[in-house]
Symmetry: C2
Subunit: 119 residues, 2 copies
Amino acid sequence: MTMDEPRALDAFAALSQETRLKMVRVLVQAGTDGMAAGAIGDAVEASSSSASFHLAHLERAGLVRSRRESRSIIYSADYAALSGLAEFLMRDCCQGHPAICTPAPQTRQTATGSPRRDL
Amino acid sequence: MTMDEPRALDAFAALSQETRLKMVRVLVQAGTDGMAAGAIGDAVEASSSSASFHLAHLERAGLVRSRRESRSIIYSADYAALSGLAEFLMRDCCQGHPAICTPAPQTRQTATGSPRRDL
DNA sequence: TTTATATCTCAATATTCATTGAGATATTGA
DNA sequence: TCAATATCTCAATGAATATTGAGATATAAA
């Protein structure tokens, strides 16, 4: 799924709301297994109705996926979409300016699970 | 300038509007010299009033800078802020999932000015 | 100093978005 | 089947945002 401008616009809009940004961060932490809607709502302190609204918004924007599992609906982060958005932004940013925009090597995420600063 | 959550929220909000996203892309293309407000407005087909409003919004969000130069006000992209936002997103995205989220090497921007796909 | 140029500011309006609470739907277990 | 649980949907309200046009401000040139 290519991250083009209209798609990026939807993704940015989805991430520009405090409750939704928190939800995405909670889901990224949760890993591929995801979390039930209720647990996400609790984690970000949103009412059931508000959680449902914002999760639907994130799903429409393509940043999270959902599946039913018994009584619960499990949401999980769409890592490909999130990294696609980051790449879109990096491309825009680095266009002709790689020296300025390339992050320093020691701040890059490694595959070895090194500790990282708290967000 | 650290890209924390409130700052990212403002940046995402600024980028979630079509005119403003176009403006950022125009300014990234323009390079460090930047462009006059009028030229940016023309490029994204916004009225003088609308261009002023959206440029001020982008500046408040810390994504562009401005300076007066004779009669014109010149706006330029803040590359550090843009890459900081991309990094923020990458960190969130890759948290515990570097294998999934690390972009493939051949899609990475190089420092040698290699051609890239059109956005 | 007068005029032209470039941009900004302001107020009015329209549109979009978030929140709330009530209640509908789906699933499970007694 | 009935009750409990988990989530969604809907309508109403309020809040934030975008657009427009008129006009104010700053700079430069005649």
